[in-house]
Symmetry: C2
Subunit: 157 residues, 2 copies
DNA sequence: GGAAGCATACTCGGATATACTATGTCCGAGTTGACGTGG
DNA sequence: CCACGTCAACTCGGACATAGTATATCCGAGTATGCTTCC
């Protein structure tokens, strides 16, 4: 799985903690965890295309959450960064060569069906978890995190 | 996900249909679906290392199932081909840069925890499905498939 | 006729190239804010 | 003092390199088979 998924998820939480008042630039979000700024920018663009964050150019510009955290699921972020297509894609090799009959088979490939069911379970688990729940859990573990981020953003003016 | 997973799964079913009497070479299994023989051989080696199939060299050699289909799950094959490590690996970026505190955090990353739970659901779904169940479903859809394979193997002596 | 020895062909197994995607970097278009200037 | 125009800096956005992995290929070690030869 792409490294950018982890970056995007942390960035969403950081955006939520930064306060809704002002946007945060990709460079600041990247510096907070020592990530490559230009590449994180790429991931944030993907989030913007998916409607998860909104971007504003120019000075004082940057990214901010486009909707509240409790309406963003893990699935939304994963789909935005990784793309919408399934991880296991059936190439229908059973139709190739001597193994494939003359006419296409009537039913779907049993293997693809089973793999699809498993992947559906994964997607359901991701869709059942909102970023707000994760934020609450993270704040229970480290209650000072939001304030530290806001202080650092204000100081690094 | 790797293309080889699909090839390995189909090959396992084909090995089950070929009959337990004699081994089938990687070249024959590949020709049945017009796959690159040498590369399929690589995937079968991975299955052999995992104890799913057994290999015998020399003439009349090849691969055969090492244990019955009902004791092989989708998870076994996926783990053998893809490797045992998780798809989402937490790099603990929260500990890097100004965002990371002085001492390591006490609890696990909430994001990694949630992603791990989703992946666990996927793995459970894969482990709950045996290849024998898939074989039964495939035979219901195409009852003539096993016999066609055996006839082709005998003809291509 | 039978058995031993040998050559042979066929198999896996791993070491070696190539292609593609994820990763990382760079520069341009656009916008906002500040500053200077004129009224 | 206020309003307007100009300028400059900062931002995203997409186009351009690079690296790492999945894909594909090739050749060597090993083994069972069949044949030849000798007893």
């Amino acid at each position: 799985m792409s490294e950018g998924v982890e970056w995007a998820l942390h960035s969403c939480l950081n955006l939520a903690w930064s306060g809704d008042g002002r946007a945060v630039s990709a460079a600041r979000l990247a510096a907070w965890h020592e990530l490559p700024a230009a590449y994180l920018n790429k991931q944030l663009q993907a989030l913007a295309r998916a409607g998860i964050v909104s971007s504003t150019p120019g000075p004082r510009g940057g990214f901010r959450l486009a909707r509240p955290l409790d309406s963003i699921t893990l699935m939304d972020v994963v789909a935005a960064v990784e793309g919408p297509d399934e991880a296991f894609r059936c190439a229908e090799i059973r139709q190739q060569g001597p193994g494939g009959g003359e006419e296409p088979p009537a039913a779907d490939c049993a293997i693809a069906h089973a793999m699809g069911r498993a992947e559906l379970a994964w997607r359901r688990a991701l869709a059942a978890q909102t970023l707000d729940e994760i934020r609450q859990q993270a704040e229970r573990q480290a209650p000072e995190a939001p304030e530290r981020l806001r202080a650092w953003l204000a100081a690094a003016r």
